[in-house]
Amino acid sequence: MTIHSLYIYDRHCICIYYQDWHRTKRPKPAVEGGILPAVSQAVSPLPLSIDAKAGTSSTYSSPRNTLSSSTGVVIATNDSAAPVPNTPLLQTPLPPAPTSSTGLAFDEEAKLVYGVVLSLRNMIKKLSGRDEQFVNYRTSSYKLHVFETLTGYKFVMLSDPKADSLRFVLRQIYIGPFLEYVVRNPLVRMDSREYGIDNEYFRTSIDRLVRGLSIFS
């Protein structure tokens, strides 16, 4: 029993956040321009050069850099030029180098996930004849759960196939970390189509919530 990954999409069909836990087949990094900045450092293009740049980036390259003082904690980094440095808040060690890859780049995978969710949602609506939501589907090796907010944000979680419905978890992420560290965070540019919503507090908070679940082991 475990949880594999979490995707968040906005109402413009764009992936704005990604996080994964137990995943043997990790996606390849996205191609340049395939995903927005601040979605997930793990799958952003050129993950190595980011580390190299972090120490040397000019303070004048972006007005946002005034936020990233060496002593303070960066609350929101929407700029790819100023990535979150290794901070003590996020204690989880990065997973070891991917053992194998799905063969899909992250941006391709994110689009496929969204396509499946959208098609199934329309199919369920059509079949039921009501405003019924698509909840989840299961294959032999994973289960995909969906929670859609009234504002069109879609929370998609992949888990073990034997898991019960995880909609309540997605709802908890929405009313907890999402509301607190994204909606109420003036530095996150929601609905911008240019930036994701990744920030350190949000990521840490989701990580803590998910790792605290009984299904996560």
């Binding site: 059509k126 294959t139 994973y142």
Partner: protein, 136 residues
């Protein structure tokens, strides 16, 4: 506990058999069913590629808030799809029995053209006996 409908989708994604049983879902035209079956065929192929852990089958059960779609994929690529209420527990067993009936009454029928719509009274009556009376 209700079985709403049964579809048979051929290996190319065409709907070759569709029948409604209990009321509860929207009444759609046969054209709409064709489109939905094609969509399901495509989704099924994609879901097997999204696995985070090794290889995976396609979607087996798809759930909405009040009903679920159970899919049986045979080795020949034909898909049997059953639309039931969420509480229905016999969906897998029913699909297996439908597959048996399909093998007996459709595949052994010398007048049946493979991959074409199923027009067989024998199959119809077996399904009726298995699931209940349909409204044609």
């Amino acid at each position: 506990m209700a079985i709403y409908g049964l579809w048979v989708i051929n290996k190319a994604g065409g709907l070759v058999y569709q029948r409604n049983f209990a009321e509860g879902l929207a009444q759609l035209t046969s054209n709409e069913y064709l489109v939905l079956a094609g969509t399901l065929h495509g989704i099924h192929a994609i879901t097997s590629r999204l696995s985070p852990m090794g290889s995976s089958s396609g979607a087996q059960v798809i759930e909405g808030e009040t009903f679920k779609i159970t899919i049986l994929l045979t080795v020949t690529g034909t898909k049997f799809v059953l639309l039931t209420s969420l509480a229905e527990t016999v969906a897998d067993a029913v699909l297996q029995r439908v597959y048996d009936a399909y093998a007996d009454s459709v595949m052994k029928n010398p007048f049946h053209t493979p991959e074409m719509p199923i027009r067989s009274e024998g199959f119809d009556s077996k399904i009726t006996a298995l699931i209940g009376t349909g409204q044609a």
